[in-house]
Symmetry: C2
Subunit: 332 residues, 2 copies
Amino acid sequence: MVRELELIEALREMLAPSASAPGVLRWLGDDAAVVRGRGYAVTSVDTMVDGVHFRRGQLSPDEIGHRALAGALSDLAAMGARPGEAYLALAVPADMELEEAAELGRGAQTLASACGVAIAGGDVSAGEALTVSVTVVGWASDPGELVGRDGARPGDLVLVTGALGASGAGLALIEGRASAASVPSAIATDLRASYGRPRPRLAAGAVLSNLGATAMIDVSDGLATDARHLAVQSGVAIELTLAALPVAPGVGDVAAQLGVDPGRFAATAGEDYELCACIPAAARSLLETEWDASRPTKDLPAISWIGRVVEGPAELSFRDASGALSGYEHSR
Amino acid sequence: MVRELELIEALREMLAPSASAPGVLRWLGDDAAVVRGRGYAVTSVDTMVDGVHFRRGQLSPDEIGHRALAGALSDLAAMGARPGEAYLALAVPADMELEEAAELGRGAQTLASACGVAIAGGDVSAGEALTVSVTVVGWASDPGELVGRDGARPGDLVLVTGALGASGAGLALIEGRASAASVPSAIATDLRASYGRPRPRLAAGAVLSNLGATAMIDVSDGLATDARHLAVQSGVAIELTLAALPVAPGVGDVAAQLGVDPGRFAATAGEDYELCACIPAAARSLLETEWDASRPTKDLPAISWIGRVVEGPAELSFRDASGALSGYEHSR
């Protein structure tokens, strides 16, 4: 009990920048946080459990905090919502030191500050396994600004942001399933960071929403799984081209060590937190122009056109792959 | 993986009434839920972990779902906020059957319907211990409608709703630390239900806010702990009278079996989820009149005047108790 209160006190100091965020009227220390509403609330909850979604020995505490918040914010990015507040619920096992738990809070706060998010509240309790449950709330003035999973239409083109496979390759290095010896060391560092500190694509999601995305999802379970969600929710067929997938630097080396085709690895390794979006074909050229114009100021990733939406049963297929692919085939 | 998807599907059916709630535009099945904002958002997260906050063997799955949601909604009641939406994050251990987890969702949905709350989203993952993390969002048109913990002033009177000790006594019966033999069976049933299905005091919180409460908290950790939070956050001394506490029927018998004074038991046993509020002395008579007038239509509990706010160091004291009291002295 005293430990919990100590931790709450340490987190209060750590998360103090959030208390002065605009629109936050009450935060930690009351029965509930109070924030100014702005139109429509977009809310997602993401839970990460030690031993299931990560292992404490493989990540630093601040990476665990960063990653849990990033996973939740990625859902807001996939809706094209402006991020607002986050609420951090921790279940802390008896063997976790106060400093370790506080460090986790620091990792979340650093990412929150970078994304303009206020961590306005949360909850601390004892637990068997470290469990980090993050609720994030974003806002939209009009529901029409938001992009669901259900709006893809035949004729749309499919794109993905950034590059795929880096997080899965990073995890393979961390777990020693692949050796970093054949990968340039700067690239190996990047791969590990892709796993430990993924960047939610908030700016990219907002721009894609503005430029007419009809359906969008974040690539958390692997593109093969997540793009299928778009097909099923939209009731359309989606055809992707494995060879068109943007494979992150170094992923080829790691995939080779694991005996897997790099494209297949990129399509099935999860936790890249890139965005997969469907765009009307007619909007492609304007999107490319605007994207290139916005990239320097908004720190946008590259985009790759990887397939199309067609009439047909609500399924995902890869035109150049034999057999079905599913998420997490190789990453764990 | 398949199990999680099955459970999500079962929960989707279970929670279907929430999908048609007014103001819910998107819910389960998208990256995030979308709901219409209404002024100021009041948000609280409450996590309950098997083995820490409850034991699966002692409660039915629907009681676990009810209790987790009730604990979170109780925080909204303590702010005087109108409840809006809830988000349910479950970490489910391998030995939990689909039907058991679905039953948990049903317990939460039944309470949500009774309180006019929409369960608009959530998250399901694997976990070692069953963990239920509930985020609730309430709304207020104006922040002045909300009651924090920090507004108590010398001269205020202190009241508590309902009766205390019932949940702690129910747990003592469930755990066999006390025998139900000396308690009338209807009362023993009520005591157990107080533990298994606490009722969040949402209507009472709204009325107390309207009638001028200056500070308010829900009694989750025991009155001795929670009233101290009001004193510390408001920077005032609070004096309560142990003999004035409303002790729930049957608590005297159970406390006697445990060798504890009933008032002391009522002040320290937690999880009653009643409200403790501070009210300007001048507002007492109007409050009593209005309360009595509203009771039949709003199903309000009784209220008891249990102490006062005075100048002095920010502390809680009981005028008729020797030594300090703290929450959970006897309940576990």
